[in-house]
Symmetry: C2
Subunit: 133 residues, 2 copies
């Protein structure tokens, strides 16, 4: 969902304001128990080029959470904010980046996508049911 | 985990900066299938006093996501940012608020806490494994 945020900045000594749409995304995916240590190690030390590419693709305030379910399975939950105006184009830009592809070649085999995700998804996109700015 | 953010503001014609710690929280809980419509309806129209109490308790940028798992069970995932400096005290303040208690008297019976959550938790707190500002 979208929030309209007000940004104020200084230009030529004047305070100038502008508004910008922010789209929030929450997603979920499984993670293999035997890959947990490696997944955590990689994400505690992310490659600077991958982080830079995320920023370049208008992703910000991106967090990934890990939790164990009572059945012993592990899941990852991601939250990020998108500040661009063409999400599909920016996601394609991410996917076309060789260093990002290399990162994913390590992380994809650690993950277990939910079988009921939408077609074309890897992480399953969740539905936002509440938001408070 | 914490981020240190820079805020710039204008005071007496001068730009003044300050830093503030932000703690992010990700949590998960089950939700009963038969309560989905009611839960969504309530959260699409939250009580203004409950939202105001969240703000008063230094909670901001709070989102709740819903998703169905392949086994047919439904889960809620929450993400929020805490900008105060005494989380336990602020959570107690929330819990002591009569209108919040009334809200929870409706929502608690709709939820199914994970049996492997930590003692004293309702929503299960997840572990942050990655963050990009």
């Amino acid at each position: 969902m979208k929030s309209r945020w007000m940004f104020a900045f200084i230009m030529g000594g004047m305070i100038v304001g502008c508004t910008r749409d922010i789209q929030r995304y929450g997603s979920v995916i499984g993670v293999k128990k035997e890959a947990l240590a490696n997944y955590k190690e990689m994400h505690a030390n992310p490659w600077p080029e991958v982080n830079a590419q995320l920023k370049e693709c208008n992703i910000r305030n991106y967090s990934i959470y890990l939790t164990e379910f009572p059945d012993g399975n592990y899941y990852l939950f991601s939250y990020f904010e998108y500040t661009g105006n063409d999400f599909r184009a920016d996601m394609k830009k991410m996917a076309d980046d060789p260093r990002t592809q290399e990162w994913w070649s390590h992380t994809d085999p650690m993950q277990i996508p939910l079988s009921n995700r939408a077609q074309g998804q890897w992480w399953k996109t969740m539905e936002e049911v509440y938001h408070l700015d």
